[in-house]
Symmetry: none
DNA sequence: GATGAATGAGAATTCATTCAT
DNA sequence: AATGAATGAATTCTCATTCAT
């Protein structure tokens, strides 16, 4: 399954570039500046720290004290801002996924052709992993297992991604760009699945990349879309799959 | 990510049929019958129980006593057969994944064309989920996400699936069945990813199936392979990327 | 055990009437009005709030923040006025019990007969519960049971009630109104105990009152005194308690 | 309020005698003897320890580890036998109060006159405090405050004591032994209250006893009943109930 | 005076693992 | 082999109290 963070939508592949995380810009001599942090800032700091620690140790392997240590605060303070560990994960999910889906919707809404849209989507998803791999780890690996049982409505939210992409496909069929004998609701799975597994594999470090990482992602995005659109067959099958 | 259980390879889709799990056929008046279980049987019973409980509660959420209760044995006994909780999960993985990879290899080795092989693979994977959804849950959700960090060699084992499928694709290219401008190492991801997400979605209950469940899986397998081979494009692009 | 609040002594039963507590007359648009509260007023506000919250949740179950919330102030402010939670309870006890004992002493000092005095005492005690049940709850259930071990001198203060009543009894014996073969020091226990348990039972809601609550308390006060003076025996009830 | 433990009913005052608690008969060289303790015994040991520690420190002031230390077991074991601290208190209440009420009922059912019955009740209650003061402390001071809010049905159970005694009074009225112009439902409060406060005062150490403690209790029981039956009035003590 | 963010000691509870029987 | 009592380290969560503004 795929779910990703902070996805500014841009139409090209250009966004696949470096960024990095520096969670706690430690100890800048903070006369008044630091104490004036609003509660919201502290809250954000905790979330950022949590993402990083969750990514490193997994949700269950993370102690509240780990998060506090990473954020360089007293761990009681975490409870000032969050009811418990689960609420932190919850917040991460809600915020990040919301942003992600918005980006997807923006892509779906622009006027371009299906192939361009899918390319954009692939680029966003893959670049997201490139720039914020911890977020992706957390979103992919930690959130669902924990909440799957607890919250069916959260799954509903996840399903939104599928709906957005299925709609793009449906539109492509309507325009005659895509074949109509495959259900968009199924086809979208294959597309998402292709991207998902690439990301997952990167997270799991199954894929080793030599050379330019950015180039790899670009190639991968192109490949996924090309394959999705044109198929793997050498032969051009004139006839519909009877 | 995909990894699945007890996959007797058969070449057609026919294997997608019911089976079911009844791990502890409780309270059969077991005068001597039960006591005579050999140690190996007890061990197996524990594994079966563990799979079911892991599937239900997740690895971390499962207590040894839960497994023991499900197996209807004293929980101290679990430690006779396994060093600790992790070893149970380990055993599940090793056994099931080994069987699975064997099935995949058998498919890869038979003499048929690429499309047939891929169809078999899709069938095996999807039917596996159909007949032993708990296994799939455990393999997908629990094992890797638990042990990922601990055991890199285990990931190597997972990678085997990709190699087997990439080899099938390579063979297809060599035979001229598949286009050659896409790297098999990348393409295999898209294929596996398509299957994976279908299974995952079923596990997560994102997909609702009306009517015949078996028919759904057959259709899905066909769709995945069709899409993978022929692509989504409405246009038949005549010329090879020469 | 009995210990009660704000006991203006009046000689009759008439004081058993309604009153009620509305501690925080919330949100009166308090531009300056509220800010101009003197420190003493704030302190009092905190005490009133504490009584109510202690009554509802018990001392141990009450957080400083609960008190602050009830008083509609910042909880840090509580620490301006009180060293800690215990000091709040302490203050409640000292103020209320002091007032109560004063009322008892006034009754003891007036010139009437024993029966009248006891009737007054019963009336004061029972009406106190009627008008300020939270105070009684706190005094009965929270204070002693919390501080009992910590502070023996406080018990001394509680004992004062017994001495006052025993003195009334002694005086009655000296006047020939009461029999002399029972020690006043023991007898006073029975009298106080009778009242105490009535109050306690009301607090615990063991007694359900139908109809007029005030009438119930009057009847109860009369019954306690009548029984204490005349006994339960059928024999020798020469005159009815007119 | 009064509620008391292990009250073997005997008709005279004779039961007011010493006993004491020795909860953990420590370290008797226990080859097999000790390990063979059944779970029930350990459970009982924990309860006994809990009573003592609760009595000393109060429910809220008692840590599970205190109980475990007193019982000389690992504190995890407490959780083997009880879900949590509250369940321990619960168990104490249910067991002890049940026994107590049974004793009361037995007294109520025997064929003697009202005064004798009341004397028995007084004796049981007072001697209970004498022999097991910790139990009384716990029952009186700890249980209700904790559970008052949680469990209204428990209060119902407490009310049973009142009903039993009110019934004795009603019977006395029917037989013509007691005056009929006082409601038994109210009168029983005064009787119980008298006993209660004596016990409470002892617990609070408000009363100091010089000389023989047993004699004190006997005198107290007689006084309470005498006063309850005959009243405090000097007038009309003419004839004993011959 | 007033605020509420920050701190951290303290207590409850869980549960993998050991071990005597 | 089988049992389940016993252990205690590890962790979460609470909340009184302090403190900078």
């Amino acid at each position: 399954m795929l779910r990703l963070p902070r996805w500014k939508h841009e139409s090209s592949m250009s966004e696949i570039q470096q960024s990095g995380t520096k969670p706690s810009t430690k100890k800048k001599s903070l006369g008044a500046a630091d104490k004036s942090r609003s509660g919201a800032e502290k809250r954000r700091l905790i979330i950022e720290s949590a993402i990083n620690v969750f990514a490193e140790k997994g949700y269950h392997g993370t102690r509240i004290s780990d998060i506090a240590k990473h954020a360089e605060i007293a761990y009681g303070l975490v409870y000032h801002y969050f009811k418990n560990k689960e609420e932190i994960l919850d917040t991460i999910f809600l915020e990040r996924w919301g942003e992600f889906i918005s980006a997807m919707r923006a892509i779906a809404a622009d006027g371009r052709g299906v192939e361009d849209k899918l390319l954009s989507i692939a680029a966003v998803i893959l670049s997201a992993h490139r720039t914020r791999p911890e977020w992706v780890k957390v979103l992919i690996f930690e959130i669902q297992r924990t909440q799957r049982f607890a919250d069916p409505e959260r799954m509903e939210v996840v399903g939104e991604l599928f709906r957005v992409i299925a709609d793009i496909l449906r539109e492509g069929q309507a325009r005659g760009e895509l074949r109509c004998d495959l259900e968009p609701d199924l086809a979208c799975y294959i597309f998402i699945g292709g991207l998902d597994i690439v990301v997952t594999s990167r997270v799991l470090e199954l894929i080793e990349i030599e050379g330019d990482e950015g180039a790899y992602y670009v190639r991968m995005a192109r490949t996924v879309v090309d394959l999705f659109i044109n198929g793997m067959s050498a032969v051009r099958q004139g006839s519909e799959p009877s």
